[in-house]
């Protein structure tokens, strides 16, 4: 299908999806927790915009509902909760260095290419758009995973996790026209509860090791079989 035969809304969907991926890169580069939260909120807002665009193209009414839920949850509520937690834990001035940001970005680029390669056999019968979007959402998921692996701060790990969720949601909305509503509500509920629990854990970890650097959670490991 040539791009010129697509309507404006149909063209809007991949553009917005690409912006979601762009924000994953932005997220990866943030050294301050607060700016990472802001980038995450923007990603959530863009996700809601993608959902609206898909709803307009496909005419599925229930997608407007899920767009609203996404916006409320990913762009407002969770960023707000993270914001509060960061202030409460006095992390707003902390800077978290990454060993080599250039290498991390290269790894993220490699992940995008890998995602495209992975979905190649899937969608031979599909239009180019669907293939792009499945690849983009897989890339967002994997970059979120990358962020969780390379960051030591518990807050950044949680943002990485939530950004993975964004990628999953992008796949669900744009490749399949949205999951059944009951599933979507269940997922939204699980994400919200997970966020609350993460908040509880921040406080407990802070109280236990006086820091949120999870690299210092290292008491449990396979002990060598030395004599007692």
């Amino acid at each position: 299908m040539l791009p010129s035969t697509l309507t404006f809304m149909q063209q809007l969907v991949p553009v917005l999806a690409a912006l979601v991926l762009f924000l994953s890169f932005v997220l990866l580069a943030q050294a301050r927790p607060l700016s990472a939260v802001h980038a995450f909120a923007w990603q959530g807002a863009l996700l809601a915009a993608v959902t609206v665009a898909v709803a307009a193209v496909s005419g599925h009414g229930h997608l407007y509902v899920s767009a609203f839920i996404t916006f409320a949850l990913k762009a407002v509520l969770i960023p707000w909760m993270l914001h509060r937690l960061i202030r409460r834990l006095a992390l707003d001035r902390s800077v978290e260095g990454v060993a080599s940001p250039a290498l991390l970005n290269m790894a993220a680029v490699a992940l995008v290419i890998f995602s495209y390669w992975l979905v190649l056999p899937i969608v031979q019968h599909e239009s180019g758009i669907t293939r792009n979007i499945v690849a983009i959402s897989l890339a967002v998921v994997l970059i979120g995973l990358l962020m969780m692996v390379f960051r030591q701060q518990a807050v950044s790990q949680v943002i990485g996790f939530m950004s993975m969720e964004n990628g999953l949601f992008l796949a669900a909305v744009s490749a399949t026209g949205g999951m059944p509503l009951v599933v979507e509500l269940g997922i939204a509920f699980d994400v919200l509860v997970a966020m609350v629990l993460f908040g509880v854990f921040f406080l407990e970890i802070q109280a236990s090791i006086d820091s949120l650097d999870v690299d210092r959670l290292n008491r449990l490991h396979e002990r060598e079989d030395e004599s007692p």
């Binding site: 899937i122 499945v134 996790f161 026209g177 059944p180 509860v193 629990l197 959670l217």
Partner: protein
């Protein structure tokens, strides 16, 4: 249908009541009562399934496979609730756990039961995901119940690893839905697994094989397959003993159940492609690696609960391998193995809870001479370890025997690896068991108050399954074997 709704409603209502109930000794009673009611409803549902074969409708679908696991879940839920009543009371009396935490514990206990029952009875692949993730969320605060820095670390690890794993499973679910989209919405309403199963041949093989990799890694994290098992020994060793019994005995089964359900879809989709056994081969690979790695890790353990959690990884590996091998004999063996392992392992974790309390430590080098101090605990531990090590007459022996028979039939050279692994695991368990049970008891070691009835009941059932199976259960398992392997037992 009504039996199913009541069965699901009881734990939800009980969780609500328990969250508000202040007197904790009353809460423990309510917990036991709700679990007993749940078991009664399960019996009602089981009777319906036995009569009709399948109970389905309103987004639920209960066949022999799910029914056997539902019955197991409700039963272990009840016996563990009985055990946790005395166990948690002593924790409260010693000041380890405060009153608000007791309330949290009991409410989450019932919510955990609910999520597992929902996962086992739902017909919707998406709801299955939501329920399995819900089970993580319900248990994560129970792992950190003691609030020591070790337990918080274990809970964080559990939370992050399982959430990430399960997120990948969601991607697999989305891909499955994507593949189902090409069948037309009328053919497959929502993500109904029974409808997908019916139309599995029409699902795109390339999409489904990619989806299966994600689903296997995702649910495999939860089932404790190597190399995604890192959370399991930590969560088991740091949580309270009833929680370890529930995690090892029930949650791992639910994750495995999800994997098998998905495998059925993938098998149907790949049947006419160039590599029809892809899913089975992946399961065999993951299962064998988990089994062997865990068998060797058994030798290095210094904490009694970590020892038995590695044994859980080992058994999950065997069962996964058996499901991957396929065929009616291996499948029936795997189902029998799953049930007997749950019964034996939860009995062991209960006994270990008492043993650790007698010795005042979970360190294997501190627990000595149980049989002198408290023969009931000592002998139960011996019997339990005999059961999970695969000695006759227990059901695990029967399951492993069936698996070996099937392996010799189809892939003889793998039977050698399997046997060698079983020997290594056997040695790993008994080298630790010998001093713990028969060694010289330290001075002044006192017996504790222990209710051994649930343990004996579990071990008795595990032995019964190995010798002669109750007819109803055999009916469910035959149905499940036919569903999974597409063939009946010879």
């Amino acid at each position: 249908m009504n039996a199913l709704f009541v069965m699901l409603l009881i734990p939800v209502v009980a969780a609500g009541v328990l969250a508000l109930l202040r007197p904790w000794h009353l809460a423990a009673g309510v917990n036991v009562g709700a679990s007993a009611l749940g078991l009664a409803c399960t019996a009602w549902l089981g009777w319906q399934v036995a009569a009709h074969g399948v109970v389905s409708g309103a987004g639920f679908h209960v066949d022999g496979f799910s029914m056997a696991l539902v019955a197991l879940t409700a039963f272990v839920g009840l016996t563990t609730a009985v055990f946790s009543r005395t166990y948690m009371r002593q924790l409260y009396d010693s000041g380890t756990v405060a009153a608000t935490r007791m309330r949290l514990y009991h409410a989450m206990y019932q919510l955990f039961m609910f999520t597992m029952l929902l996962a086992l009875t739902t017909d919707n692949l998406g709801v299955l995901w939501v329920a399995v993730e819900g089970a993580t969320l319900a248990t994560v605060l129970l792992v950190s119940l003691y609030r020591t820095s070790e337990s918080i670390e274990a809970a964080w690890k559990y939370f992050v690893l399982c959430s990430v794993g399960i997120a990948l499973a969601l991607f697999g679910t989305v891909l499955t839905y994507f593949a189902a989209g090409h069948l037309g919405a009328a053919a497959v309403p929502g993500l109904s697994m029974s409808a997908l199963h019916e139309h599995a041949a029409g699902l795109q093989p390339s999409v489904m094989s990619l989806a299966f990799v994600f689903l296997l890694v995702g649910y495999g994290t939860k089932a404790g397959l190597v190399p995604m098992h890192q959370w399991l020994p930590d969560a088991h060793s740091e949580g309270p003993a009833p929680m370890s019994a529930m995690l090892s005995g029930l949650l791992l089964n639910v994750a495995l159940y999800a994997i098998v359900r998905v495998k059925l879809l993938v098998d149907g989709s790949l049947a006419s492609s160039s590599n029809p056994y892809l899913a089975g081969q992946l399961l065999m690979g993951f299962g064998l690696v988990s089994f062997l790695v865990a068998a060797f890790f058994l030798h290095r353990q210094r904490d009694i609960k970590r020892l038995f959690s590695y044994s859980s990884v080992e058994h999950m590996g065997i069962v996964t391998f058996a499901f991957g091998l396929g065929g009616p004999i291996a499948t029936f063996g795997a189902l029998l193995h799953m049930l007997s392992h749950s019964l034996a392992k939860s009995a062991i974790f209960v006994t270990v809870g008492y043993a650790a309390r007698i010795a005042g430590s979970q360190g294997l080098e501190h627990i000595r001479g149980l049989i002198r101090t408290q023969p009931a605990v000592g002998w139960s531990l011996v019997a339990g370890v005999a059961a999970i090590a695969g000695l006759p007459p227990f059901g695990i022996f029967a399951g492993e025997f069936l698996l070996l028979v099937a392996t010799v039939d189809t892939r003889p050279w793998l039977a050698v690896v399997l046997l060698a692994g079983l020997v290594v695991a056997f040695a790993g368990l008994f080298r630790h068991l010998q001093p713990v049970v028969f060694g010289a008891a330290p001075e002044g070691q006192r017996p504790v108050r222990a209710a051994m009835a649930p343990v004996l009941l579990h071990l008795g059932l595990a032995a019964w399954f190995g010798l002669a199976m109750p007819g109803v259960l055999a009916g469910w398992l035959h149905g499940a074997t036919f569903l999974i392997s597409g063939d009946t037992l010879p």
